[in-house]
């Protein structure tokens, strides 16, 4: 028994090509039926995400299987395509790398594992899987868990919003019920606020020099708008302050903040300064209970996270190599058995 993998991903094809092959959930049954109709294929799983479309198939004749899959992709797209084709053991290694997030655009992202699980479940429900594919995917899930647990490949956040959420978690613990204030309704501050809301932040207060813009953003993210002249009155209740105004000078100064902090009963304050030029004087970071991060420090953390993850790649590949050998050994032992 052999496992083949045919597909394309963000590295081999631009989005304009990938979108021709994307398989919607409602079309999955039909696509799986077409794949299984290929001569020599015993079973298949179709993985379709925004960054990849891949078919994993169990077969007895790799040549027939790859020809059939290439033909299927070509018919679906109507053009020549930059398809990659892997045979055992490369197909096994590829799936293990995909499930572990090593083949993702952002190394170590974890969403892909859920997508692989969904793809397997969909194929299983259609009766398109075989014993070998079942073993392969169960092993892939174990590999992903092993790699995540034993390395730092998923550690840290990889976007400004995610870093802000992670830091807020390290300051406040549970974010449920926390209050956020946005000063200046910019795009990045909106994204950051949305990330925080998704983690349980209760109240978002938006203040902008143009009140209408503040009201529009507040409506979009389920917050409330206040006039810019009033933001200091609401400040004592706020836990996280996101600044992105276009003010040419500091609007948060140590003198102003030190006075405002007295009304906070020692509660910490997380200031996220996304503005350029900066809205917050760097000196406020020295005030007890104030944690200031500007755009450079947030982006620096993203870079640092990605470096840490890249540094873990060799260990991950080594672990995956062991798992590939283990699975291929099992496959060889059982190749004569019927699926």
């Amino acid at each position: 028994m052999n496992i083949v993998c045919a597909g394309l991903n963000h590295e081999s094809a631009p989005v304009g090509v990938r979108e021709r092959f994307a398989v919607a959930a409602q079309d999955m049954t039909d696509v799986l039926r077409d794949v299984r109709a290929i001569d020599g294929l015993a079973g298949a799983v179709v993985l379709s995400t925004c960054n990849r479309v891949e078919i994993y198939a169990a077969n007895l004749c790799p040549v027939k299987a790859t020809d059939g899959l290439t033909q299927l992709f070509r018919e679906r797209a109507g053009v020549e395509i930059p398809l990659y084709l892997h045979d055992t053991p490369r197909s096994v290694r590829h799936l293990f790398r995909v499930a572990s997030g090593l083949d993702s655009m952002v190394i170590g992202e974890t969403e892909i594992l859920g997508q692989v699980k969904q793809a397997y479940t969909a194929a299983s429900e259609c009766g398109a899987t075989t014993r070998h594919l079942h073993k392969l995917f169960q092993h892939a899930f174990r590999v992903a868990k092993h790699v995540r647990t034993e390395t730092q490949i998923t550690r840290g956040a990889t976007s400004v919003g995610a870093v802000a959420v992670e830091l807020a978690g390290k300051i406040f613990g549970d974010l449920t019920g926390r209050r956020v204030m946005i000063l200046g309704a910019g795009e990045t501050s909106e994204r950051t606020a949305r990330s925080l809301v998704s983690r349980g932040v209760r109240t978002v207060i938006v203040s902008n020099r143009t009140f209408e813009r503040a009201a529009k953003l507040a409506e979009e993210i389920g917050g409330m708008a206040i006039h810019f002249d009033n933001w200091q009155n609401t400040f004592p209740d706020v836990d996280i302050l996101i600044c992105s105004t276009s003010a040419p000078h500091f609007i948060i100064t140590p003198e102003k903040l030190a006075t405002m902090m007295k009304a906070r009963s020692g509660r910490p304050l997380f200031v996220i300064d996304l503005a350029v030029p900066r809205d917050a004087d760097p000196e406020i970071n020295a005030i007890d209970g104030v944690f200031l991060y500007d755009i450079d420090s947030l982006e620096g953390i993203v870079r640092q996270t990605l470096e840490v993850r890249r540094g873990e790649l060799d260990r991950c590949e080594e672990m995956i190599g062991d798992h590939v050998r283990s699975f291929v050994g099992w496959l060889r032992t059982h190749y004569q058995m019927r699926p």
Partner: protein
């Protein structure tokens, strides 16, 4: 036999610390469970040792400096096991185990008498007073550790270091809460210990009395001050470290002075 058990307990705490440190540096999940397991083993061994010691001395084993150090180590771990999971601060173990180990090593290797001391007249209030005081200091010890963890985490956040340590340590708000509550716990238990001491009507060495009362008052002032004029969590953490360090220094001195005729 009782000392052999303490050697084994020391080894267990050392293993717990190594595992927890490894977990902090490399994010290996098994290290947390291993560290907790080793701490529990160390605690059971210390409890066994104290039980044997109590049998030899015919009273609660708090009759010598050696006893105090071992009991202090035991109460520190007892409180950690009681509050660590409650405050989701399992990592407190990474900091508790070296302190418990240090106390045991001092008890086992410093030039002090390790002979059992048998008291002639037994007063249950005196034993209650001594045991509660030790447990209170265990609480203060853990407050000190939570404070140290707070300051380390605060430094990481202020310095914008996104290191393994930042990921491994709990949120500073949780640490601040644990620090405050442990101080309060220690203070309440110490007060109860003092009341037991008063009820015992035992003759008290002046230095021991004023030294102990001074420490009690300092903890009380910190807590009352924080109640009326909330202190920044960093200052509270710092205060809990400084006062416990002072207690660590004065406690053996008080014990020594009070044991003199």
């Amino acid at each position: 036999m009782d000392q052999t058990l303490l050697y084994a307990a020391s080894a267990s705490y050392a293993l717990a610390f190594v595992a927890a440190a490894q977990g902090l540096a490399r994010t290996r999940r098994w290290t947390g469970a291993f560290s907790l397991g080793a701490i529990i083993v160390g605690f059971v061994l210390t409890s066994w040792s104290l039980y044997l010691r109590g049998g030899m001395e015919g009273s609660c084993p708090l009759n010598s400096l050696y006893d105090v150090l071992v009991f202090q180590s035991w109460s520190l771990v007892l409180i950690y096991l009681a509050v660590g999971p409650a405050y989701r601060l399992s990592l407190l173990g990474a900091f508790t185990s070296p302190l418990a180990l240090a106390l045991l090593l001092i008890a086992l290797f410093s030039p002090i008498s390790r002979e059992p001391v048998v008291r002639q007249a037994l007063n249950p209030w005196v034993e209650t007073h001594a045991a509660l005081s030790m447990i209170a200091y265990g609480g203060f010890g853990l407050a000190c550790l939570a404070g140290a963890m707070y300051l380390v985490q605060e430094h990481q956040l202020k310095a914008r270091r996104f290191s393994s340590l930042l990921h491994g340590l709990p949120p500073i708000s949780d640490l601040a809460t644990a620090n405050r509550r442990l101080l309060l716990f220690g203070f309440v238990v110490l007060t109860a210990g003092f009341l037991a001491g008063l009820l015992s009507a035992m003759p008290v060495n002046t230095i021991k009395f004023w030294g102990s009362l001074g420490l009690w008052a300092i903890y009380g002032i910190i807590l009352v001050w924080n109640k009326w004029w909330p202190l920044p969590a960093g200052r509270m953490a710092f205060a809990s470290i400084v006062v416990f360090a002072a207690a660590l220094v004065t406690l053996p001195a008080i014990q020594y002075l009070s044991s003199r005729p």
